[in-house]
Symmetry: C2
């Protein structure tokens, strides 16, 4: 049974739809758009639309040039920004930042008046004022003054690591610098802008293959650029789709050979949003537009799936408002449940970015490419009271998401979500009470748009304390010893969360800090599958199941097999910068005859990695190891080197041919663990310029140099991997699947650091009652 979805409900605000609505209003009232039987009208308006589409394309290009691509000479316009309703596409890139947003009146956020914000810490991100200043400097910088340019990245250029390490609260800040990546006439430029001298102090021109990550404006404009192409519109109409129901996605092209070189290309695929907000489930299969992102020229139009029906809208809408509330929901009602902290949270966020909780302190900032950056993570030693370094910097360096279908409309889907789309740019405002519990506090991102103007991504990150009913440690004496002991400590942790929606998929990234010194890095996958249209409606029609490249999820819908790899950059500084990587191999040792009634046992053998190749690790279940980052110069009281180990999880490994172009670009997934010497320029595992890159600047290439890593400032890289064979439960939206890995102290503390933690007692717990209105 098809359910009617009102236009307002499902597709509010996209400019293109408003335009189409106006357009179509000439022949039929807009409110009637969503009638199921409209095919009858189609034939009549088709010719008319073709004429309009040509007119429209001109109009669109004009609008674009004015709105986004042309750098405005007028200063920052407050009135313009104020005229902005929440979540419109305009506002997501140029969000209101003048207003203080308090989403949860019970745990009011610290004042978030970004306009008057000033930096307090050398690692604090650029402020609104600083971004504006950078834009002014760059605009008047001679090589940029004469040509139009687009800003693809405008972020703090962090001071050199030794400077940051020496800095203490109260010290003056080092001169602030910005790193700007801009495209001018198709060429990548990287500038350092010195905010002290108001000068461009460095100007490099990109040499390697690849382009900077797309701007939001790139992606948005790409989605409707094909409408300027008559053939495109023709095939859409021929497939019986109302242009007003069209939703298109910009899909990074990857790199597969020469033809992708020398211009920025993108592929566009489209969907019908008729009858559902979940257009992703209604692919117009086999139709792919290859577009020049800069000229908006349609380079190629591949139209191979005309016989494949568009899957029906039935049962695809996931919004609560779209559920049939008339039908009885058979799952038993759940009583309200909440994590409650009536005295408020135990953490503070000082100076906007320094998070202090229990024994932890770290600097937290949103980043347009990485999403969340954790810096200077330090843990207080419960014995000495000393704050000890654990990690200088940790971030999501790159993602690699290859789909497993070699056919025309699918082979190129090998996303690298950070370097291509901006993992932070795609992190939308979190939904209080659902994305994060009520006791959460929120942090905004301040980023730059393509024209260099600042915008605010509100509530991009949340921080909350988590009590999941878990146990920190326990021991009860058994009747064997007869001692009356039962000591148990609840486990409370601190979570930093963001959720990036890279088109269909949602990635939830949690950095969880535990009082026992452990850091758990967890990635949850939810959101919506990228599906493929098919003529099949039942598996009994399918001759070779393996050739489906996935699972038949619903009539005419295949969930295509794919992998997810999320590679983390972890600049460990265990009690100082100079560390070593030690593989502690667990090996079977056979006993000598007569030595023992046992024939075998396991031994731990330590191997210190001398060079990078010693630390290229493929995990092996039957040849297991622990992986320690130790400080060889610092030992515990009984002489063990202090260390942290990486405890693998989410261990799916890439099985693609290493010479397959996508795997060359995603070669950082060739091993699960890598260790490199610290190098300021090696932070992005897929390379600085990932878009259309050919893989010559990846972690795999750097590591091949086989540099010395013993007793050096080293960086640990860990890749969380998932193989995903979709199943029907993933339709029309996926229950979250999570994996995590841990950074865990190993002989870092002299003893259990949470020994003295008190147990819960009834009198400390909150007194709660049901909400009055419930």
């Amino acid at each position: 049974m098809e359910r009617r979805v009102s236009l307002k409900e499902s597709i509010t605000s996209p400019i293109q739809l408003r335009l189409f609505c106006l357009l179509k209003a000439l022949t039929t009232p807009c409110s009637k758009f969503h009638q199921r039987e409209r095919e009858r009208e189609m034939e009549g308006i088709r010719k008319l639309l073709r004429v309009f589409s040509l007119l429209l394309s001109g109009l669109l290009l004009l609008l674009f040039t004015r709105s986004w691509l042309h750098l405005p000479n007028t200063p920052f316009d407050k009135a313009q920004l104020l005229d902005c309703s929440n979540y419109s596409p305009w506002c997501t890139s140029k969000n209101r930042f003048q207003s203080e947003i308090i989403l949860n009146p019970r745990t009011p956020n610290p004042t978030r008046n970004h306009k008057s914000q000033i930096p307090h810490h050398p690692l604090d991100p650029l402020t609104i004022q600083e971004i504006n200043k950078v834009r002014t400097i760059v605009s008047s910088y001679p090589p940029f003054k004469s040509s139009s340019f687009t800003v693809h990245s405008l972020t703090l250029e962090e001071p050199e690591k030794p400077l940051v390490l020496s800095w203490k609260k109260g010290d003056p800040l080092f001169p602030r610098k910005a790193s700007v990546t801009a495209l001018v006439k198709g060429q990548s430029h990287v500038l350092t802008v010195d905010l002290g001298s108001n000068q461009v102090s460095r100007h490099d021109i990109g040499s390697d293959s690849g382009y900077p990550m797309m701007t939001i404006e790139d992606m948005t404009t790409a989605t409707w650029a094909p409408l300027a192409n008559a053939s495109f519109n023709h095939t859409i109409l021929n497939r019986g789709i109302d242009l007003a129901d069209l939703a298109c996605l910009p899909i990074s092209t990857g790199w597969f050979g020469k033809k992708e070189e020398k211009r920025r290309l993108i592929k566009i695929q489209c969907y019908s949003m008729q009858g559902t907000a979940n257009f992703y489930m209604r692919p117009i299969e086999g139709l792919t537009v290859l577009l020049d992102m800069d000229t908006k020229e349609v380079v190629e139009l591949s139209d191979q799936g005309r016989d494949i029906p568009i899957p029906k809208a039935d049962n695809t809408d996931y919004r609560f408002s779209a559920q049939n509330t008339g039908e009885e929901i058979k799952m038993k009602h759940l009583n309200p449940i909440s994590i409650e902290q009536p005295k408020g949270p135990s953490f503070t966020i000082e100076d906007e970015h320094m998070v202090k909780w229990a024994n932890w302190e770290f600097h937290l900032k949103p980043d347009p490419r990485a999403g969340v950056v954790i810096s200077r993570a330090m843990v207080r030693d419960s014995e000495t009271g000393e704050l000890r370094n654990v990690m200088y910097k940790g971030l999501t360096s790159e993602l690699f998401v290859p789909y497993m279908d070699p056919t025309d409309a699918w082979y190129f889907k090998t996303y690298m979500d950070a370097g291509e789309y901006g993992f932070g740019l795609q992190a939308m405002p979190l939904d209080p009470l659902n994305d994060c519990p009520r006791n959460a506090q929120y942090m905004d991102g301040v980023f730059a748009a393509a024209d260099g103007t600042p915008f605010v991504r509100s509530n991009m990150v949340c921080v909350f304390e988590r009590y999941a009913g878990d146990i920190g440690w326990r021991h009860a004496e058994s009747p064997i010893t007869g001692m009356e002991i039962r000591e148990v400590r609840p486990k409370v942790t601190l979570v930093v969360r963001m959720a990036a929606s890279v088109a269909n998929y949602d990635y939830i990234v949690d950095w969880e800090f535990q009082t026992d010194g452990l850091i758990r890095i967890k990635v949850g996958l939810s959101g919506i599958l990228m599906v493929k249209g098919t003529p099949y409606v039942n598996m009994n029609q399918v001759p070779g199941q393996e050739d489906l490249h996935g699972t038949l999820l619903s009539e005419n819908v295949i969930g295509v097999i794919h992998d997810h790899y999320i590679t983390f950059y972890l600049d460990m500084d265990v009690d100082g910068s100079d560390n070593s990587f030690v593989k502690v191999n667990i090996e079977r040792q056979d006993t000598s005859p007569g030595e023992s009634p046992r024939k075998s046992y396991l031994k731990a053998k330590r191997h210190v990695a001398k060079t990078e190749k010693d630390a290229q690790i493929k995990l092996k279940l039957y040849d297991p190891s622990e992986f320690h980052v130790i400080n060889p110069s610092k030992k515990t009281r009984v002489g063990n080197p202090v260390g942290y180990k990486v405890v693998p999880g989410g261990t799916a490994a890439s099985l693609l041919d290493h010479n397959d172009p996508p795997q060359m670009r995603g070669a950082f997934t060739n091993n699960q663990i890598w260790v490199t010497p610290y190098n300021r320029s090696e932070q992005w595992a897929g390379g600085e310029f990932v878009y259309q890159s050919q893989g010559e600047d990846t972690l795999a290439v750097w590591s091949e140099r086989n540099r010395a890593i013993e007793n050096k400032d080293i960086v640990l890289w860990y890749t969380l991997g998932f193989h995903h064979i979709p199943c029907q439960e993933d339709f029309p939206i996926m229950p979250t699947v999570s994996s995590s890995f841990d950074l865990k102290p190993v002989n870092f503390f002299e003893s259990n650091p949470i020994l003295r933690m008190p147990p819960n007692v009834e009198k400390d717990l909150p007194v709660c009652k049901a909400a009055a209105s419930a």
Copy 2:
């Protein structure tokens, strides 16, 4: 600095200590026992003690025979049971069960008046009355009437599976039966006692190697039996240990050759509890007593570690009361935090054992061997409203914990905690607010003591709803599409928890039920390490680090390397009993020249296991598979077979020689996954009689028969594994380490079963304030 621990505080109630206290009072006041300088007195009282020890041993044996080993002919004595303070060794085996225990007044438990309890469901455990009746029947059963016997197991003999499957609420119960395992003159007898006819209807005599699991009384008496041995007492005193400070542990001997045959042997190792409740950290290294458990005869005394000092008590006590509160605790204070449900939990426990929550229903019961048994787990289909079978029965079948030290005092430590010690017998009462959150409800275990009398293990299991701030599913539209959508659902789950304290170690077992149909089975390891004494105080004294067999944790303390394997029995009944096991292999497929710009992609290839050997799975990261249990006769609307998959986690694999005696006994860990055809007698992976078994009745032996398993009633076995190289953070008590695996629907539902779940809204959440007294 040594801290003085009062006797009352640390060692209340063990009978042996009270006796020693009396004894020692002859020469010195009891209150002075814990003076550090008492070595001076020792010489003088040593000879006296030797005399007393002989007297004492006679006294103890007499006491034992009367109290535990001899079956009382008097009926159940209420007065005796009432005279019982919480947690004394006596009370743990003969706990009060006449009183209603309400630990948390805010979520009162259903009446737990076990005396009047009656069974409601065919799988309900035996009641107090039934156990008493069984004891009466067995006591008057001719072969048992004339000899003394000890009851090692007395549990419900479940009706045949088809009967249980056909039973519906309201139907009369089938005749109740008990299965009794008893030792008579060193021989194992297994009886079926029919409670309808009051007859013993089956009587088998154990034929295989091995003995039934120990009784609590076996273990308790074994710990002080060595005191009857003069050489033992001599060496203890020679090592400078006050007998009043002695704490001994019963360690299962395993099986290593002929000499263990034909009698029940146990090894005893001892510790000093002087100055600490954590005696486990103060081993009397190298002293091992081999004891005949039935005659109490010391068979062998191995005393090899006289030069090894007993590690100091400093910093070993983990009790909150023993922490130095004078010293400032440097970790920041955490504000109270709690999972709150002011309207109460959303689940009900009907008829004592049927848990109903959200879309789940299952039968839950405590078991002395397995700990917790989940039966008849069914999930309600949100589309049809139908309750669908998922799992007939799930339980912890066996544990295997081999230590990795081949030397005299360590080689035999290869515990099988369920079949040797009773995983449920060792599950102590949970600590409300710390072991389980405030919204938990508790369930008691009703077990039989060695004399066949019933006792209650109160609060052995808890059930609670868990909200951890996690996300069930989410999607936000990005500015690319411009749609104003942000739909997020919080994740609430139901947890069933128990915690077994098998001497030093604590195992936390969680069965977590999710509304999306997933069952997560999680094992947390905490408690206290089994450590080894050493002369070393610093690693710089150690010539060959690998020969330590572990990590130097503190001065004179080595944490020995060991593994943990927890093997689960999972009788899956996916929409019916006849299921198949399908390995869905993810394989690389290379493209043909010209086929695609891609060189490679991954394909999913399905292999249906025909026989048991097809389903002996060693996990491989570089040859990955999914593992489905499907119902080949039931397909979804689009034709996929309905199924559940096991999602591995905690994948450490045993690396020991398959012919090593411990690995022969623990051969069920030779693979991570096994599938067997359902066989009523094959429930315990290490065999029915595990104690001193030789491995001829394990899962590995059964599976070797290579029976057909396609489209049959099949049982899935999964082993969670941990390699544990201890680190200093594990001293003196270990922060919990957890691993889990999942049973996850795969094309079981037509679509996402939690699509219609509502989001959280502020008005439904509780209103909480800080507790008045806080």
